[in-house]
């Protein structure tokens, strides 16, 4: 098969992985005439495809042959899509050629599982190793690790990769058993803890080296400086948003994930009959991302974010964002006075982001805030007005007491239609 065809097949196979991050790694560049590339700043999105996703890394599978039967995946053993396999040299060349033209920040390499786990992992590692050692590549490398790859291979992979990841895929063991019978929570979390151990070790070595900075000759132990991440597929099983977020919460706290990605499954060619018929609305994925932020940066707990009682128990409101939904359920917290409330409370106000909340605390040292000040900070006033007090504004008490406060925020009917327009059939996400 021609390289051009392989590229088509193996990009098609990789597109269901949502991760495209290329930030947060060690700062380095090729100034001084060594190798090629740079990294360590904020990630750069070099292009966007019409699905609204950014193109930052060359995202391909090494091969889409796979002996696993994950029903949500376009590459599973029983799938009849075209299959292909790169050589190590081909991926290396494509990465460098793309990089030199400033198309990309680096490489995101994943793979179907051929022969056995270690063999697959070896191939991925070899690509990274060649890029780093033979070509002095300083760009970003993200390698997907293979469940159950040996610790030695992971260590090797971590030496060359900026980020390593393994997808949790589904939030519970039960769902994995049903939809990805070759995978298990134990297998996946075993790898996650190994990655975490490597990341921690490298971090503490870096710290030590900084304190004993005169011993410069000490070899650096490098291990995935941009940390690990994971992905969950949304809507392939019947897990609630609450279950999904609880799983994310564990991934963040137990394995210190940098990111958990959510990927609502969408139609794939040659789908499996083991999948549910109905694809989830894309907005569900969006709400989960918002909830995820509340979890990580706003001091919310999963129990707060997802309603635990009532007809909607366990599910996020699709029509309004989760912070607003929480505020409507907890009106006794409001109004919050933006001139006096501590930062933790500012973070709870609908429409006020973390950055704005910090800014408010700085600005109010010098003057008391009015609505116009918030407007200057680009706060969406219609959304937060009912919940705040400023120097020149106190919300009408009746507003917070209204039964239909929620309706107040729901956009017109026509948008509701879009919300629920889901592709009617089988669908999906990959490795």
């Amino acid at each position: 098969m021609q390289l051009m065809d392989k590229l088509a097949v193996l990009a098609d196979a990789a597109k269901y992985d949502a991760s495209c991050a290329s930030s947060g790694t060690t700062r380095r560049d090729s100034a001084g005439g060594q190798g090629i590339g740079s990294a360590g700043g904020t990630g750069i999105c070099h292009s966007y495809t019409p699905d609204g996703r950014c193109v930052s890394l060359l995202k391909v599978l090494f091969t889409n042959f796979c002996i696993y039967e994950c029903s949500y995946c376009v590459n599973r053993a029983s799938s009849q899509v075209r299959k292909a396999r790169f050589s190590v040299a081909e991926v290396v060349k494509l990465t460098l050629d793309f990089y030199r033209r400033n198309y990309i920040e680096g490489l995101f390499l994943s793979s179907g599982i051929i022969q056995d786990e270690d063999h697959t992992m070896e191939q991925l590692t070899l690509v990274a190793k060649e890029l780093r050692l033979k070509h002095g590549f300083k760009g970003y490398i993200h390698l997907k690790t293979i469940p159950d790859a040996s610790p030695e291979l992971l260590k090797e992979a971590g030496r060359y990769a900026d980020r390593l990841s393994i997808n949790i895929e589904l939030p519970t063991q039960q769902s994995l058993k049903m939809l990805a019978p070759e995978k298990s929570i134990q297998g996946i979390t075993t790898t996650m803890s190994r990655l975490q151990a490597g990341i921690d070790e490298a971090k503490s070595q870096r710290k030590n080296r900084q304190t004993i900075s005169n011993r410069r000759s000490q070899a650096t132990f490098n291990f995935a400086p941009a940390g690990q991440s994971s992905q969950m597929i949304i809507g392939a099983d019947d897990s609630t948003d609450g279950t999904i977020l609880q799983t994310s919460d564990r991934l963040y706290s137990q394995y210190r994930m940098r990111r958990v990605y959510y990927s609502a499954f969408s139609p794939i060619p040659d789908a499996s009959s083991a999948l549910p018929i109905q694809a989830p609305p894309l907005v569900r994925e969006h709400r989960l991302y918002q909830a995820d932020w509340l979890l990580r940066f706003y001091g919310f707990s999963t129990q707060e974010i997802v309603p635990t009682v009532g007809p909607e128990a366990g599910m996020l409101d699709l029509h309004i964002d989760p912070k607003l939904a929480w505020a409507i359920r907890h009106r006794d917290w409001f109004p919050i006075n933006v001139n006096r409330a501590p930062l933790e409370l500012l973070l709870r106000i609908p429409g006020i982001g973390a950055r704005t909340a910090h800014k408010i605390t700085r600005v109010r040292r010098h003057r008391r805030l009015r609505l116009a000040d918030l407007q200057a900070m680009r706060v969406p006033l219609p959304k937060c007005r009912p919940f705040i007090e400023t120097l020149d504004h106190t919300p009408a008490a009746s507003l917070l007491e209204q039964d239909n406060l929620r309706r107040h925020f729901i956009p017109p009917v026509q948008q509701e239609l879009d919300l629920f327009q889901a592709p009617p059939t089988p669908l999906v996400t990959a490795p």
């Binding site: 597109k15 590339g37 699905d51 053993a77 063991q173 039960q174 060619p269 200057a376």
Partner: protein, 298 residues
């Protein structure tokens, strides 16, 4: 007092320090004396960094950062604005930058932000084409930044593409790197050879192929795409030529996928003994019972 043709931040800073030392009020300065439409490329007059005209504590670091960025904004009024802000900061309004509703502060922040965004987009959307020039490999790009950011963004490209020869040509200024020295030269008109589609580079074909296939037709969101990659950049992005066809064809492609009958997950297992054995071996793998916390196992 007339100040002629300020060319960049350093130049402005030197002038501003002198004015400040002499106690000249912003309303008494006309920054748009002699206009020059181009950036000037001589290095600005060297002044000792030790100038105490504005003592370090007096001017917040953040102002210098914002001013450096705003200095690249394509608007001649920027020099007067910067001086006015500097004057106020050093004359009793040291907390000025916190006054988010102050019109001058707002303007400064707006300019700085626009410039940073533009620089970020330039890092992202410059596309090099590999050429042979005098028997040397040379990577050439045509780009049209919104603001006067070429000198300031060149450093990024030098660090990243240090071991390549490259030139970035723009209407305002051009940056050239020969693996040794960075040169900034005056802007040029778009060379015919660099009009999209005129100059070929073999890799473009692969890039377009990749773009076509990394796109998921089942999740069309053209608005999200356009807010991050506005149309004004499309002319210089080879992949932009594909956007309309991909977007228009996506409904049909999704329908085709939906119309396909789903297949039996055991289809291959039943046929291939080898696959069955491999899968069964993996499915029956045992892990030490303590390898995952209980709460996962529900």
């Amino acid at each position: 007092m007339n100040i002629d043709a300020v060319v960049d931040f350093n130049h402005w800073r030197d002038q501003a320090r002198l004015l400040l030392q002499q106690g000249i009020h912003p309303t008494a300065v006309n920054w748009s004396g002699q206009q020059q439409t181009q950036l000037a490329f001589d290095s600005p007059p060297a002044t000792a960094e030790s100038s105490r005209a504005y003592a370090a504590g007096q001017v917040p670091k953040n102002f210098i950062k914002l001013a450096r960025a705003a200095a690249c904004y394509r608007d001649e009024s920027r020099w007067a604005l910067l001086y006015s802000l500097l004057w106020r900061l050093t004359h009793g309004e040291s907390h000025l930058l916190h006054l988010v509703t102050d019109p001058e502060v707002k303007r400064l922040r707006h300019m700085a932000q626009a410039v940073r965004r533009d620089a970020h987009k330039m890092h992202a959307f410059v596309r090099f084409k590999k050429q042979q020039i005098n028997d040397r490999e040379w990577y050439v790009s045509w780009f049209e930044p919104s603001h006067l950011i070429v000198p300031d963004t060149a450093d990024f490209f030098v660090k990243r593409f240090n071991t390549m020869n490259w030139s970035i040509l723009t209407p305002d200024a051009c940056a050239h790197w020969d693996q040794n020295r960075l040169q900034i030269t005056p802007g040029v008109d778009q060379p015919n050879a660099l009009i999209q589609g005129q100059m070929s580079d073999d890799m473009d074909k692969y890039w377009l192929q990749y773009y076509r296939h990394i796109f998921n037709p089942a999740r069309l969101k053209t608005q999200a795409m356009q807010s991050e990659m506005p149309k004004k950049y499309w002319d210089n992005l080879p992949e932009a030529a594909l956007i309309n066809d991909l977007a228009n064809g996506s409904g049909q492609r999704t329908q085709t996928m939906l119309d396909q009958a789903p297949n039996d997950p055991d289809r291959l297992r039943l046929k291939s003994k080898k696959l069955r054995q491999q899968q069964d071996a993996i499915r029956s793998k045992q892990y030490p019972s303590n390898s995952a916390p209980d709460q996962w196992m529900n």
